[in-house]
């Protein structure tokens, strides 16, 4: 009977899966949005949301739990506690969002985006129009020439 075993194995040993999810959690907190397979995204969601809850609670014990879960990556733990956790002060769970993208070429795996909700978006490069753009290209060429 395979009752009450909801956890997916991902075709890896327990240790391998644990390391994979830790690595992915670090990437998620660092970049705020990552692209992966749907199965991995769904497992990561569980781990990442629990980590954000630890970060929101704070205190030495929770920080140590986080350090263990994030491979003692101090930068990521710091960002999680100082930047990400305060952002979700008034949110009761549901810190991440998963969106299905497409099937991957090669193995046809369904690829999804997992991101932190309310993430800080990177500023888009706005296309400059007309003279401004031309002037900029010229400037760029000049700098190239000077560099040479």
């Amino acid at each position: 009977m395979r009752h009450r075993v909801a956890d997916k194995k991902l075709g890896r040993t327990y240790e391998h899966k644990k390391a994979l999810l830790s690595n992915m959690a670090i990437s998620l907190f660092r970049h705020e949005r990552i692209e992966t397979t749907l199965a991995k995204a769904k497992l990561l969601r569980v781990k990442a949301e629990r980590m954000i809850t630890w970060a929101k609670r704070g205190g030495l014990a929770n920080i140590r739990l986080l350090e263990g879960a994030l491979l003692h990556n101090k930068d990521t733990v710091g960002k999680l506690v100082k930047v990400i956790a305060p952002r979700y002060k008034d949110r009761q769970g549901g810190y991440t969002r998963i969106m299905k993208l497409r099937n991957r070429k090669g193995d046809n795996a369904l690829i999804a985006i997992i991101e932190l909700v309310d993430r800080v978006k990177k500023e888009k490069k706005v296309k400059k129009e007309g003279k401004e753009a031309v002037a900029e290209v010229k400037d760029a060429k000049k700098t190239e020439v000077t560099k040479k």
Partner: protein, 57 residues
Amino acid sequence: MANPKRRFSAARRDTRRSQWKLKAPGLSICPQCKQHKLPHRVCENCGYYGKKEVVEV
């Protein structure tokens, strides 16, 4: 060893295989660019999911 008792005619084989059909995927229309897309997926044409832009195309 167990073996078929009778020859299996090509007609029987082909009758069975006549039921092998491809199904057209159920498609929905992107509210942003009005193109066909798979439901519950980010639109591959315009990168929108619902009302929000999610990916650059």
